[in-house]
Amino acid sequence: MHIPDGFLSLPVSLILYAVVFVFWVLAFRKSRKVIGEKHVPFLAVLAAAIFGAQMLNFSLIGIGGTSGHLLGAVLAAVIFGPYGALIIMTLVLVIQALFFADGGIVVFGANVFNMGIIGAFTGYYIYLLLKKVMKKNIAIPVFISAWLSVVVASFVCSLLLALSGTVSLGRAIIAMVPIHAVIGIGEGIITLGVILFIKKTRPDLLELEKISPGGEAR
C-alpha cells in the first residue's frame, strides 16, 4: 500500500508530515518505557525481517493479477507496543523510499501515517481489547487485529486519495477495501505464524511492558 508521489495533494502530504513528526517525538519518549537498551538489537532485527517479508508479494486468490504483501505493523506492535511499531515501520519505509523508490518522498509522511500510525495503533488497541475478552488465547486476537490493520489502513488510504481530489471517496473505498480484506488474510496468517514462533521460543518478548526501563529482567 505504498503511495507513490503524485497520488496525494501537497496540503494533504504536508499536514501528514506534521502529524507524523508529533508522533515520532512521542514515540521516542514513550518507547523508552517499554524498550530497554538490551532490546534494541531485536527491534532492529525485527525491522529488517519486516523489510525482507515485504518483498514477498503473494498472489491473491480470487482477484486475478493482483498481489499483496505483509505490512508488519501489528507484528511489531504486539512485541514493542504501538510507538515501538511506529519506529520499526519508519525504519522500513525510509529505507524503501530512499533506496528502492518504493513509496514517494513528498508522500513519505502519508505512508508513515497510514502504515506506521493507523496500522499500528488501530491494530494494537483491537489486539489488547480482544486479548482481554479472550483471556489466554492470543491466536484469534493476533489474527483479527492484523487483518483489521490492513483493512483500516486501506480505508484511510482511500480517504487520503479522496481528500487529495485524486478519486471520489465512494469509488476509492469500494475498490480499496475489498481487495485489502483479502490481503489482510495473508497479513493475519504471517503475523500469527511469527508471533506463535516467538511465543514458543522467547515468550518473554511478548511481555515487554512488564519489564521496567533499563530492562533488569533476564
Binding site: 524498550i35 525491522a47 525481517a49 525482507g52 514477498l56 520499526i88 533506496f99 528502492f100
Partner: protein
Amino acid sequence: MKAIYKYSLLFLIASMLIVSLLLPIASEHPDGLERVAENLGFIERAEELYTASPMPDYSAFGIEGYLGSFISEAAGMALVLGLGLGIGHLAMRKSKNAS
C-alpha cells in the same frame, strides 16, 4: 543479557534464509493500491520526483532476476538493521542518562 543478542542473530539469519528461499516464487503482480489505481484510472498520476534511488523496484543496480532481488534483499535488510541499531542506541542511551 547475552541470550537476547544470540536470539536476535538467529532470528535475523532465519528471516534472511526464508525470504531468500521464497523470493523466486514472489508474485510480480501489482499490489492492491496499484491495481486500484489502474482500475480507477489514476495510475498515471504517479510521478517520479526522486530519481536517486540506487535500486528502484528492488532490482539492484539494474541486475535482473533473482540475483538483483537477492542483492536488494540483503542490502535493504542490512540498511534497516544498521539504521535501527543506530537510532535505537541513540534513543535508549539518552534515557539512561536522564534517569
